[in-house]
């Protein structure tokens, strides 16, 4: 019904578009240039006014009326059976809704049937009433627009103002959503810190991570929420990933931009981009099912004991995932070094290697650094690969052959586990917030470096 009303308002708006446009043509007569605004703008303004009025009324009346009749049901349930707790009232209401729609209810009694009857009656009134009101609002706005139109009607300016405000509203929505997410992260983080009696140092520097094992009456044990093993695991895997991705990605970029012929470039670049298009979940099971057993077996043959879920396997695969990221960003910045600099170097009798090492790379260095930093923030935030390949135990070790766990893995464990959400959410949100701060910091640094680099040459 809501969607249908929306559509009806839209159709009505379209009708007003043509009506207003025709009226503008009629107003202009033989001198179209006398109109302040082109007829299309007259139509567009009518469409906008009718549409906005109709949809605003639709949303407001729909939700307010809906809330009001719901209050009515609850009041009548409580009036009939005052002994019910709020949760039981909710249950009765849900059952009545199910009955009204012909579904299955947990129980059927006189009260439920009576409320269901109310719902059937009131809902129809609510829906058709809302539809009528919003169409009426749209029609009034459209008619007002038609009536107000005259030769000097500033339809263009008015519709542009409305459009500008609509665009601004969309921008506000985007920014406000981000702000809302950050605020909820901060709020939950503060909640969590409150839960561990503000012993923040135990979260930041503690070495034992087992947050759910010490829960007593919703209260977490501050000694068991030390996040150091998680950040150490994240750091270890990130380092391994960057050790794989940076040299391969950078050298691939140098080869592609300065050595490869056009034919090699033509197929090598798309191949690398395919690598970037593989979903991380595929990388994850590649790490867990192919690489980890291979590493363990080859480790055994040389007498090394490698855990079947090791930081090494996860780090290598994560590195492979980041290669296209680094290579394509580096390729862009290396290509952005002007040919004139290369010519200048060749003109002095420098070889290709000297030119790349001493002129091209230093000039491209800031861009390469920011590519690496962006790669690091991807590695830090990467989840799927480590969930499958890195392990779950919060193991504080610097040995890449052992299983470690990361911040992202623990967030997944907390949220998908069977602990009550209100208890698990605290540590999960706090880890998320810490991770957010780290990646934000790195992105800011990367962007600053890129900006500095832009000033270097035109």
């Amino acid at each position: 019904m809501f969607g249908l009303t929306f559509l009806a308002v839209f159709v009505l708006g379209a009708a007003f578009y043509y009506a207003a446009r025709n009226r503008a043509f009629a107003l202009a007569g033989d001198t179209p240039q006398a109109l302040h605004s082109r007829p299309n703008y007259h139509g567009f303004l009518a469409f906008l006014l009718a549409g906005i009025a109709g949809i605003a009324v639709l949303i407001l009346v729909w939700s307010l009326w809906g809330a009001w009749i719901e209050q009515g049901y609850i009041a009548s349930i409580i009036a009939a059976q005052p002994e019910l707790s709020p949760i039981e009232v909710e249950l009765v209401l849900n059952d009545a809704r199910a009955l009204a729609e012909g579904g299955i209810a947990s129980r059927t009694d006189a009260l439920r049937t009576q409320i269901a009857g109310d719902i059937t009656r009131q809902t129809a009134l609510h829906h058709y009433g809302t539809m009528a009101l919003s169409l009426l609002a749209a029609a009034l706005a459209g008619l007002w627009c038609l009536r107000s139109a005259h030769i000097g009607w500033r339809a263009r300016n008015r519709s542009e103002t409305i459009m500008r405000r609509l665009l601004a509203m969309m921008a506000v929505i985007a920014v406000a959503t981000t702000a809302g997410i950050v605020l909820s992260l901060i709020f939950e983080t503060l909640n969590f810190f409150n839960n561990i009696d503000w012993q923040i140092h135990k979260f930041l520097f503690g070495t034992t991570w087992s947050p759910l094992s010490g829960v007593q009456a919703g209260k977490l044990d501050p000694d068991k929420v030390g996040a150091i093993p998680l950040f150490a695991g994240t750091l270890l895997i990130t380092i391994i990933a960057m050790l794989v991705a940076t040299p391969i990605g950078l050298f691939a970029a140098i080869y592609l931009s300065d050595f490869a012929g056009p034919k090699v470039r033509a197929w090598a670049k798309p191949m690398l981009e395919i690598l970037a298009g593989i979903p991380t979940v595929v990388y994850g099971f590649f790490a867990a099912i192919t690489l980890a057993p291979f590493l363990r077996n080859s480790g055994e043959s040389v007498g090394l004991s490698i855990a079947s879920e090791s930081a090494l396997a996860a780090g290598i695969v994560m590195g492979i995932m980041i290669i296209p990221f680094i290579s394509s960003l580096s390729d862009d910045v290396i290509n952005a070094v002007p040919q004139s600099l290369r010519d200048g170097s060749y003109g002095l009798g420098a070889t290709k290697a000297e030119t790349i090492r001493q002129v091209v790379l230093p000039a491209a260095l800031p861009g390469i650094v920011s590519a690496v930093l962006l790669g690091i923030s991807r590695a830090v935030g990467e989840t799927m690969i480590v969930v499958m390949a890195a392990g779950q135990g919060a193991n504080l070790t610097a040995n890449p052959l052992e299983a470690v766990t990361t911040v992202t893995v623990q967030i997944v464990m907390l949220i998908t586990g069977d602990t009550e959400a209100s208890t698990a959410a605290g540590p999960a949100f706090t880890l998320g917030f810490t991770l957010f701060c780290i990646t934000l910091l790195m992105n800011v640094v990367a962007q600053r470096i890129v900006r500095k680099y832009r000033e270097l040459y035109d």
Partner: protein, 255 residues
């Protein structure tokens, strides 16, 4: 011309860019320790020909050069010639000043370092100072050798690039429209500099400005549509050209 001291001889040079025939059978003798100017309308091939002299065209995949270019009687396109070593002998200054994004000092020290011309830091300092002095920019930059070369004005950048080219001690300096991006005052400074450099180097300069060719060069070559139309003493080309096309160009009727 037999009695003249010839540094570079080109015989039957053709250049192709993919299917385009850019230079058609050019013969030219470039005199030692003198300024030779290449003039001609845009797209006539003068820059292309200039870039053949230090094999800069090798860096362009689709470019093909045939014919002989001899430097001191030795074919620079011979199999055993390394273009890298050739370019150390035949330096180049480009149309747009292109200092490296390094300090002024490092810009000049770059060539001597890669060719191992200085045995010590003191010797390198000396090369840098001498090169900048000869490029007539030492007094302007001696107090800020650590500042980035890209921070200088256009004219200063171009003189820095000339100093950078001089620092590798080349025998020939090629200049591809070195003043086209500069204002008249900077242009006058560069022209004065070219006149002084003639004592030690063989200079070949491509220019759009006929006045510039007349002011700085001893020999002038006029290119038109890939052909070398006329080559001779600058005085003669500008006062008494033999070919009607040359006369049309210098009087402004074509080009």
């Amino acid at each position: 011309m037999a009695d003249e001291d010839i540094k570079i001889t080109a015989k039957g040079v053709d250049v192709f860019y993919a299917d385009t025939h850019a230079i058609k059978d050019v013969d030219v003798n470039i005199q030692n320790k003198a300024v030779t100017a290449f003039i001609g309308p845009s797209g006539c091939g003068k820059s292309t020909f200039l870039r053949c002299i230090n094999r800069m065209n090798d860096t362009i995949d689709i470019c093909r050069v045939t014919g002989d270019i001899l430097l001191d009687g030795q074919d620079i396109y011979a199999r055993d010639v390394d273009p890298v070593q050739l370019r150390a002998r035949v330096g180049m200054v480009f149309q747009k000043p292109n200092p490296f994004p390094k300090s002024i000092y490092d810009n000049v020290a770059y060539g001597p370092k890669i060719h191992g011309l200085a045995k010590s830091k003191a010797e390198l300092d000396d090369i840098v100072e001498q090169s900048l002095r000869r490029a007539a920019i030492w007094d302007e930059v001696k107090d800020r050798l650590d500042a980035p070369g890209t921070g200088l004005s256009g004219g200063q950048q171009q003189r820095l690039c000339i100093g950078r080219a001089i620092a590798t001690a080349p025998e020939v300096l090629l200049m591809d429209e070195p003043c086209s991006a500069l204002d008249p005052i900077a242009t006058a400074q560069i022209e004065e500099l070219i006149d002084e450099l003639r004592q030690d180097f063989t200079l070949v300069i491509v220019t759009h400005s006929m006045q510039q060719a007349a002011r700085v060069s001893q020999k002038t070559a006029f290119f038109h549509l890939g052909n070398l139309v006329e080559f001779g003493d600058t005085d003669k080309i500008f006062t008494n050209p033999e070919d009607p096309r040359t006369e049309s160009y210098i009087t402004g009727r074509i080009g």
